[in-house]
């Protein structure tokens, strides 16, 4: 087996494959450059470009407002990181409640259904407004009046409902034969869910979950509606007295800078999963 040498036909074939691959790369490169140059040219040559450049892309203003916006942005990032943990737990709990069969859990199941229906139906921005201004107005003892806190709760409730449905679709997508074979081994239904179904389901829904998190990263900007000095509120403040929109662009760039790594990570995770679970099965 070690004495095999590729035949001349095979060497010729490799050359052809190589040149086909080179051609693909060439087409991709030329096309990409052409498209970007064209888009750039159209934007720059538009009649209003000079005005837009002055009001949206003022380098000096960007530099001046950057530190304050960055301080505000830290609030967004913190909120995102804290909320994410709670959303994952809440979502899974609600999804499990919805797929449970036990008669004892019927009230929980009904609450779970009502919760997902209600909180997916209310626009997130309204939820932030209602909780951010409403709960402090109740003047309840022992509850914080911090609007930042209540805005975070609103995001958790809203995204928890979405994430619950993502989990549930993952659980439903696992073939019933998996539960059957787990039960055949003597596992109870909760055990089958815990050890067989949910691990597979979670793997399957990682891409849509991360998709929701990218969306959440951006939606932390909604807390600006209750007057928390996050990146967006700070930027709006600056645009008010500078009469220049550059601070908004600064905020946009900040959000892009943190979402792109997550998006790439999502892609990478999806590809790795595909390679592992479908090795050789085509």
């Amino acid at each position: 087996m070690t004495d095999w040498q590729p035949s001349s036909r095979e060497l010729e074939r490799r050359r052809v494959r190589q040149s086909l691959a080179t051609r693909s790369v060439l087409i991709a490169t030329v096309l990409t450059v052409a498209v970007f140059v064209l888009v750039g040219a159209v934007v720059v040559s538009s009649p209003g470009w000079d005005t837009v450049k002055a009001t949206f892309f003022d380098w000096q203003i960007a530099q001046d407002t950057f530190p304050d916006i960055l301080d505000g942005f830290w609030l967004n990032v913190k909120l995102f990181m804290i909320c994410e943990v709670f959303i994952l737990v809440l979502g899974l709990a609600v999804a499990l409640a919805r797929v449970s069969r036990s008669p004892w859990l019927t009230p929980v199941r009904i609450v779970a259904v009502l919760y997902t229906d209600l909180f997916r139906g209310v626009p997130t921005v309204l939820l932030v407004l209602l909780l951010g201004f409403g709960v402090p107005a109740l003047q309840l003892q022992g509850l914080t009046n911090d609007r930042y806190f209540w805005a975070g709760v609103a995001l958790v409730l809203s995204y928890g409902a979405y994430v619950a449905e993502v989990y549930r679709s993952g659980i439903d997508s696992i073939h019933p034969s998996q539960i059957a074979s787990a039960q055949a081994l003597g596992l109870s239904r909760p055990q089958a869910l815990r050890h067989v179904v949910v691990p597979q389901a979670v793997r399957r829904v990682v891409p849509p979950l991360l998709n929701d998190f990218i969306s959440l990263q951006k939606d932390t900007a909604l807390i600006s509606v209750v007057g928390v000095f996050d990146a967006v509120f700070t930027a709006r403040d600056s645009t008010g007295y500078l009469f220049n929109y550059t601070p908004y662009v600064v905020v946009a760039v900040m959000f892009i800078v943190i979402t792109i790594p997550l998006a790439r990570f999502t892609d990478w995770l999806g590809r790795r999963m595909m390679r592992r679970e479908r090795a050789g099965a085509r």
Binding site: M1, W4, P6, S7, R9, E10, R13, V16, R17, L20, R282
Partner: protein
């Protein structure tokens, strides 16, 4: 008569593992070639190479006088003339049996829906599946599903049919109903390459039997010769294991 399919010095490896080593095979029109050998001997990989589902590492595959192992060949065009049936049926679960059967004729061969359905229904009827045409594959038994998969492959009137251990997932009762279709096709003159563990069937239907061992065709000949007077010791050993009381 020129060969329909000619494989010369085919080599396929996955990394360091050589799966097919210097395999040569000639298939004349109306031939029924049965590939036998233990699991992992390369039968399935050979079939997948013939259908261009795998890139080969060396050798030449010629189909109908044209080299199809050339990277510039349009694989879709080749596959549109070759039918393939898999061990796990691989029917599309979201389509009815009838839609499974008419998908390729309509989308690849440009047949109108009415004509495609008429042909599919007549084939389904012929193989006892007329009642199941509107059902989804999951509602059918394994044998019915595999028969439907065979009909799906036949609907495009392929020049060559590749069958990859199509009865391996079926219980013995259901094997017969699937093999009877294959037998009927063989009698009708269909050219086939079949990877199989059904020795009795191979002896009965094959025009030629190939024994694969470790990625090589160790022995090839008419079934009478292979099954009653194999030349190679490895072939004898294999047949002793799969045919209790058979072989030598």
């Amino acid at each position: 008569m020129t060969a329909l399919l000619e494989v010369a010095n085919l080599r396929k490896s996955y990394g360091d593992r050589v799966v097919l080593d210097d395999v040569s095979l000639t298939v004349q029109p109306h031939d029924v070639i049965c590939l036998i050998g233990s699991s992992g001997s390369g039968k399935s990989t050979l079939l997948r190479c013939l259908n261009l589902l795998e890139d080969i590492d060396d050798g030449v595959i010629t189909f109908d006088g044209r080299e199809i192992s050339d990277p510039r060949v349009d694989a879709r065009q080749v596959r549109s003339r070759i039918g393939m049936v898999f061990q796990a049926y691989n029917l599309f679960p979201h389509l009815s049996v009838l839609d499974n059967c008419t998908l390729a004729p309509r989308k690849v061969h440009g047949v109108r829906r009415g004509d495609a359905e008429a042909r599919a229904l007549s084939l389904l009827e012929k193989f006892g599946l007329a009642d199941h045409a509107r059902k989804h594959p999951d509602q059918l038994s394994g044998g019915q599903q595999q028969r439907a998969a065979l009909v799906r492959a036949l609907c495009t009137s392929p020049t060559l049919l590749l069958l990859d251990e199509i009865t391996a997932a079926l219980d013995p009762e259901l094997v017969g109903e699937v093999l009877s279709i294959v037998r009927a096709e063989a009698e009708a003159g269909m050219t086939m390459v079949i990877a199989t563990h059904e020795m009795a069937f191979a002896r009965d239907v094959a025009t030629s039997v190939c024994f694969l061992d470790n990625g090589r065709i160790l022995e090839q000949g008419p079934p009478a010769e292979i099954f009653s007077a194999p030349r190679e010791e490895r072939t004898r050993e294999f047949l002793r294991r799969v045919l209790p009381g058979g072989g030598e």
